[in-house]
């Protein structure tokens, strides 16, 4: 027990004094959070630009609620020159131009961006339909009440933060285990400890303890900043992400141990760790949501522990599922740890030669 505490302290000090490791494990994932958070932040409410040529009474005299909805959907510019406005539509500077002749509304748009075209057409015609219903003086027969199934605040950050956190934890646990093993073998510290009254269990336990502590620090900093800066909102069962992250850390450490067991040098070990962690991060939905990935890719991703960590964290942290949703991912992660850990133990060598 004392040896474990002593070794943990020595490892922890070595870690917090390693500026390079701190950068890669703490700052690097945060940089990605800011990068992706910035890129995707406007996606949910993308507005179209509409030029009103001359007077368009239908749109400018919309009743209160409709007017507000219209201004949410469109950036409105005014112009008196129809030809210039159509040129702007053609060149893509604006999305559409609209003019009104009596009761007839003419919408000029471009098919160059089909999504934009459909949005503009649909939105403008819905306002025209609304105005028609209002002009008939009859109350509408049918109404539509939209209801989003996720939390109102479901923005891209909700998906990004758990995925990027999963990647950060995979990186630090894998590299931590791999590099400790290789470096200690190279400097003969491992042999030195073998000649001291220190059990192998104490060495492994100390490394696990330090990796769990590092993962906890990563989680607090990462989630804290995502909440403060990007308005991440956690759902009720978020606390289940703590055992999830712990189980994930163990499985990534097993991978790191394996990488450290098969390589002779630190360079070799970090090469192997990179070769595993980076593709795993992409294929497990850390950077891109897996929902849009083709079926075969989703199948491939099931071999990676990170996939289960990410899914589990999404379920309990942002999708609002109950604590039980984390049970299966935790079980799978622990099973990974046992299998890979057993292989790593079998491959383990005390000495470099």
């Amino acid at each position: 027990m004392t040896s474990m505490a002593t070794l943990s302290l020595a490892m922890w000090r070595g870690f917090i004094r390693d500026k390079m490791a701190l950068f890669f494990i703490i700052l690097f994932p945060l940089m990605f959070l800011f990068l992706f958070g910035g890129i995707f932040s406007d996606q949910g409410q993308s507005r179209s630009t509409l030029v009103e040529v001359g007077e368009v009474p239908l749109l400018s005299e919309l009743p209160g609620g409709a007017k507000e909805a219209f201004e949410d959907a469109f950036d409105v510019q005014k112009s008196a020159d129809l030809d210039a406005a159509i040129d702007e539509v053609r060149s893509g500077d604006v999305d559409a131009a609209v003019e009104q002749h009596g009761d007839d509304l003419v919408l000029h748009f471009s098919r160059a961006d089909q999504v934009k075209a459909a949005t503009v057409l649909g939105t403008v015609s819905s306002f025209v339909d609304g105005a028609n219903v209002a002009a008939s003086g009859q109350p509408p027969t049918y109404t539509l009440t939209p209801d989003q199934v996720e939390d109102d605040s479901l923005e891209s950050i909700q998906y990004l933060a758990p995925g990027l956190l999963g990647w950060a934890i995979a990186m630090s646990a894998t590299f931590g285990a791999a590099l400790t093993l290789v470096q200690w073998r190279t400097t003969k510290l491992l042999r030195r400890l073998r000649l001291a009254p220190v059990s192998t269990g104490a060495i492994v336990a100390a490394r696990v303890f330090v990796s769990l502590a590092i993962a906890a620090v990563q989680m607090v900093i990462f989630v804290g900043i995502a909440m403060a800066v990007f308005d991440l909102k956690l759902t009720d069962a978020w606390w289940m992400s703590v055992p999830l992250v712990a189980a994930g850390t163990l499985s990534f450490m097993a991978i790191g141990l394996l990488a450290g067991s098969v390589s002779k040098t630190a360079e070799g070990a970090s090469g192997i760790a990179n070769l595993i962690v980076l593709p795993m991060a992409f294929l497990s939905g850390s950077f891109i949501p897996l929902d849009v990935a083709p079926g075969w890719l989703q199948t491939v991703s099931t071999v990676f522990p990170l996939r289960y960590l990410n899914e589990g964290m999404l379920d309990v942290m942002v999708r609002g599922e109950g604590p039980a949703a984390a049970a299966v991912p935790i079980a799978v992660l622990l099973a990974f740890t046992l299998v890979i850990g057993a292989i790593a133990t079998w491959m383990f060598r005390w000495e470099a030669d």
């Binding site: 070794l7 000649l195 001291a196 009254p197």
Partner: protein, 300 residues
């Protein structure tokens, strides 16, 4: 003063190479015992088998009456093994390193501070190990090895890779290690080091021990010539060659070197002729012993 290390007919083979080929010796308590030989002679393998890091293919080892293989946890607190200067925890200061080792051996941290003092590192306690010089690292490494006051200390090439100045500084420390009755066994490929430090030296090559005795006995038993050199212009070469007892005389740079097995009359004759300018007398060294034993020059 019984034997604390007993090695009987030790054998270790790597493929077709006999790294250790029938080595036997005993080391007594309080002795500073050296294994001298060129690189690849089998010194390190021998030491590693005795420490319990490797299993021998044949023969027996007893350390303080116990078998070191497989890993013997009763033995570990009683021995100290110094591996090489870099076997430290990364990014810890000298004090943190030795406190870590003290704690692993269940020794109070104060004892670590005393050891730093003993190896003259008190002004470097807050320096990270990576920033220490080679000699300072080696002294810290030895301090970490001694922190639990082991009965037997193993040092594998403790001065390798140090500059001559740092080597000689370290000798002062190494020479005191067995003062309090502790037994020290070290390997080296430096002849002068073995000669200065060791009570007894085993000369090893190709996995075998060629000879084993005190450095003085090894050289004395050699019947090798003593070399007397004086400045070249002190004496004519013919006169020198004709002196009683001189077996050979030759110029070596600006010196005249006389080889003899009876130095006393030669020195007297030189004094008589007032030809003692720049006098140097060099007896046989371990290098001559090695040359005689193997029939070839020493290659370190």
């Amino acid at each position: 003063m019984g034997a604390v290390i007993q090695v009987q007919d030790l054998k270790k083979t790597y493929g077709s190479v006999h790294a250790v080929d029938g080595v036997s010796f005993e080391v007594n308590q309080g002795e500073l015992f050296g294994i001298l030989g060129p690189n690849g002679a089998g010194k390190t393998t021998t030491l590693e088998i005795i420490e319990g890091l490797r299993e021998a293919d044949g023969g027996t080892v007893e350390l303080l009456g116990e078998r070191p293989w497989p890993r013997n946890s009763r033995l570990l607190p009683r021995i100290g093994v110094q591996l090489q200067a870099s076997a430290f925890f990364e990014r810890l200061t000298a004090r943190e390193q030795i406190h870590t080792f003290a704690s692993l051996y269940g020794v109070p941290a104060r004892r670590g501070d005393e050891m730093l003092e003993q190896v003259a590192l008190t002004d470097k306690v807050d320096t990270r190990t990576e920033k220490l010089s080679g000699g300072q690292m080696q002294r810290l490494s030895i301090a970490c090895t001694l922190v639990h006051d082991p009965e037997i200390v193993f040092l594998d090439e403790p001065t390798a890779a140090l500059d001559p100045q740092a080597r000689r500084n370290l000798w002062d420390l190494l020479g005191t290690l067995n003062d309090s009755g502790r037994t020290v066994i070290l390997t080296t490929h430096y002849m002068d080091e073995a000669e200065v430090l060791c009570d007894r030296v085993a000369i090893m090559d190709h996995g075998k021990i060629l000879d084993l005795d005190t450095p003085t006995a090894l050289t004395r038993g050699l019947d090798a010539a003593t070399h007397i050199s004086v400045t070249a212009d002190s004496l004519d070469l013919e006169v020198a060659s004709a002196l009683a007892g001189v077996e050979d005389a030759a110029y070596d740079g600006d010196s005249l070197v006389l080889s003899t097995r009876r130095p006393a009359p030669v020195l007297a004759a030189l004094a008589e002729r007032d030809a003692l300018d720049g006098l140097q007398v060099r007896g046989a060294t371990l290098e001559d012993v090695f040359l005689t034993l193997t029939g070839r020059e020493y290659r370190a």
